[in-house]
Amino acid sequence: MRTILLMVRANIKSKILQSIALAAVFIAVSILFFLSVRLFGTVGAYEDMYIESKTSQCLIYVEGEDSKDIIVNYLENNEEVLNINVLSNFNNIIESNIVQGDELISIPDAMFTEYSTSEFDQIKWVEGKTVNELLDNEVIYSYGKSKLKNISVGDTIVINTEQGTREMIIAGIGIDLTYNFDTITLNRFWTTKSNVESLENGEKEYSIGISYYNYSGESEQVILDEINAVLGDKTANILTVSHELILTANSFFQMIMGSIFTLIGVILIFVGLFIIRSIVFNNIVADSKKIATLKSTGFSSKNIVSIYVLEYGVIAFLSIIIGGLVSLLLSNVVLGDLNELSNLFGSSNSVNIIQMVSVLIVMLLVIEFTVYLAARDVSKINPAVALSRGEQVNETKSTFSLIQHKRLPISLVLAIKDIFYNKKMIITLILFIVATSFTIVTLSSASYSLNTQKDNNELWLGYDIDAKVVSSTPLDLEAHDNMILELEASEYIEGTVTVYLDLNSQIFDDNQEKYLSSISEVFVTENKEPIDFSVLDGRLPDNEDEIMIAHNLLVMLKKEIGDYTTVRSLGEEKELLIVGEYQSMANQGTTFRLFLDEIDDEFLNTSLIKVNFVEGFSEEQMFAEVDNLFGSDVTLVIEYSNASMVSMIDVLGLVTGGVIGIFAVICLVVLLNLNLTNVYKERYNYGIYKSIGMDDKKIINIYLFKNSIINIIGLIIGGAIAILIVPSVMNVITGILGIVEFPTNIDYLSILVSTLIVFAVTFINALIIKRNVSLITPKELLVE
């Protein structure tokens, strides 16, 4: 044992540069590993917080005291319900904006909900005032949304209701516990009961939170169906956000982040292990003379393997500890934004020692096992052969003849010969470059594609509109029609459509023989053309007996265009002919669309007029045009496709940047490593080349040519795989969100970026290796 330890020390000392380079690989890999584990840790914290928690799981928004009492009465007698959280709610708001100096930040669909302090409550305090400290006209707002929109404590929210204008102050910030990713939430403001009641006039509204003993999708559906039954004709008064819906919405963030991190993780683990393996293997080949000497003096293969296992164990252990510490610093400094995002999950930033230690142990074990597997090749070294030839020689016949390629520069030809000769090493290098370029191109293209589609309402919503028009006074049918006439007359407006969303719709599933809850989008327009409705297949409905179904829902129902389907919408049950399918992100692509000639008075008040302006018309011009047409009675609210989508894209951009940086560093240290071991191995050949009159420049050129060829092959393969795969990957991911045909754009700049990174690394390595090569003298060829 003592001898072995001595050997280990001597080995590390004699290969100090290589040891440092190897340590750098371990450090870089462990940094990424620790960061991923921490991110996954926060995702795990979400599980406890949202899935296991008994926070109001299902939300029912209800209008009117009577309806509320019916629901509460039903729920109180249901054995599966653990708790009912009845809170005053107000959402009869025409328009609301947050004021920051001269800036107005529009808050669409704002609602004000009473804050109760029960354990079933939906908010976790973060900063500012808690609910008990709230004064009149003070509210608490969501952390994620405030980050997204740059809103802070002290800002004022101005709300327009039928009674006039009210101002409230944002006094506190809290995390909405309904959704795991706080930015997906509704624009809810929590405030005191008296504040909510002071906003009300006429019918009272409530938010009823249900907590279940044991949640299951089926039992929830039964409860919700029964609520609809007991409500009878009052069903139109409620809006249900089921726990099932919340869970699917929650999975959104995890799915995208999860797939990215899994992809990177898998690539890293495979590439990392492969690299460790080939570094160890190369070292053994380079050391074969020494190993043979040890063997001839009586070391067993086992002894020698344990030297390697210990040697790499020491380096790996120290590196992982350094990597862990650096990752702590990194996650707090460089990846501060990502950290803040993990705050959105509500998880704390404290370091989990047990987690860190287990990662350390797992990494160490994996590395050691890889080293062990590679080091077993020691047993193949035959002392006689290795000592007399100086190195273990690959017996395969060389295929590339130098003589035939006498026109090429000699360094290039020698480089190509090397490539054929060192296949194992070359494959490792190529694989590594493939992984690097694939990851960079894939992530950049995903991020780039999403970014270019950020404002594409047509894609996300399934139809093209710029804004909705909101009147401060309730409109009757005549006033509504007049407004549309005026809008249509404007030369700046391409088209208008009246939209009513029936969130309590149902569609019959023949397979399960039951109704599924769904959302119906009801459109009324004279001219569909300018609205650019999405049509994946089939056509738009021509009359009220026809229906169009979103792709994911159509697949779920196993129906085809030409079939009939039964739906409940706008309080009626109808049998309709399916004439087309479309894509839209609403409700994860499980909605259906009806086109009516006219909208009923009953629904007129809650429907919206949406407009599509001519191309290139700026937002200011839009506001000016509406002001010009209607004066101050009517306001225009710009439609943003989806706030959570936008925040998602921002996160992706951040992750992409980080990953490219990390890969650049890993690429540098890994390639440096492989190259250094190679120089070590090639030292003997370089000595011969020098003795026959080859200069350092030509020797470096062999390296440069060889690596350029490897780089180009790796970049082409990695880039090509990425270009081929990205569109389908993107379609799968967005398909789950309801967008089956997503226009993926390849980010060609990222191909350039990966090329630059890889070649920059090659040249940096060349500089380092050059020093090493210039130290080699032919004298090393001397035999004592």
Binding site: R389, G390, E391, V393, N394, E395, K397, S398, S401, L402, I403, K406, R407, I410, L414, K417, D418, Y421, Y684, N685, G687, I688, Y689, K690, S691, I692, G693, M694, D695, D696, K698, S774, T777, P778, K779, L781, L782, V783
Partner: protein
């Protein structure tokens, strides 16, 4: 006679762990065109060091070395590379062929480095290799042929650029006696065609192929023996007597 290689006051000192070791002490040696000089001496006497410093493979710590009246010590890397390429050929005891190049490729590489016309080099390589009688092995890798065949390829490699001086450091050290004899015959052949040769050996039989013996002891030249004055059949005895007299 034209002198082709000359050292004046050549000194080489090794420093290791603050200990100085004078491996060569004021060596004055002149070698004329067409000579075949054997450098002899006991192990550790400085033979290899002398060969490496004379051939520009290693730098020196004092004195001067001239090849064809051109000073070769303390040159820039670029110039020393030119000399290795054009003026000298080197045969190693350890043979030292590039393991992933075939024998033929090993031979042509220095030629390609020195000359633009690769066709001329290919032809010359073919001539040399057939002279070495290994034409049937030339497309094999070094690991696939015997030690003697490898050393013949190494000789062809050393001769490819028709060097002014061929250096050989114990060229038969790694070979058995019959292939050793064949290699020495080949080297002698080149000398008979006018090639200047400087060979290190500790073996009297090998030295008897030369026409001058230089005896080295503790980094100094202890004496020289001109073999041309003696009959060919008793040269080994002459060398033995000379060495014994000088304290072998």
């Amino acid at each position: 006679m034209k002198k082709i290689l000359e050292s004046k006051n050549l000194c080489k000192t090794y420093y290791s762990n603050d200990v100085e070791f004078h491996a060569l002490k004021n060596v004055d040696l002149t070698i004329n065109q067409g000579e075949f000089v054997a450098i002899m001496g006991q192990s550790g006497s400085g033979k290899s060091t002398l060969l490496y410093t004379l051939s520009g493979m290693d730098d020196i710590t004092g004195g001067e070395v001239y090849i064809k009246d051109k000073k070769v010590n303390n040159l820039k890397a670029k110039e020393i590379t030119r000399i290795r390429r054009e003026n000298i050929g080197f045969i190693f005891q350890g043979i030292n062929l590039v393991s992933n190049l075939t024998l033929k490729e090993n031979v042509v590489v220095p030629g390609y480095l020195a000359t633009k016309s690769k066709d001329i080099i290919n032809k010359r390589a073919k001539d040399l290799l057939s002279k070495m009688e290994i034409m049937d092995q030339i497309n094999k890798l070094p690991s696939q042929v015997s030690g003697g065949q490898k050393q013949r390829a190494a000789i062809a490699r050393a001769m490819i650029n028709s060097p002014d001086i061929l250096f050989a450091d114990e060229p038969t050290g790694a070979l058995n006696s019959s292939s050793g004899k064949a290699v020495l015959d080949l080297i002698k052949n080149f000398n008979e065609d006018g090639q200047t040769i400087v060979m290190v050996t500790h073996d009297i039989k090998s030295a008897s192929y030369a026409n001058r013996v230089v005896f080295l002891k503790d980094g100094r030249i202890e004496g020289e023996l001109d073999l041309k004055k003696y009959q060919t059949d008793n040269q080994e005895k002459v060398i033995f007597d000379f060495l014994s007299e000088k304290g072998w």
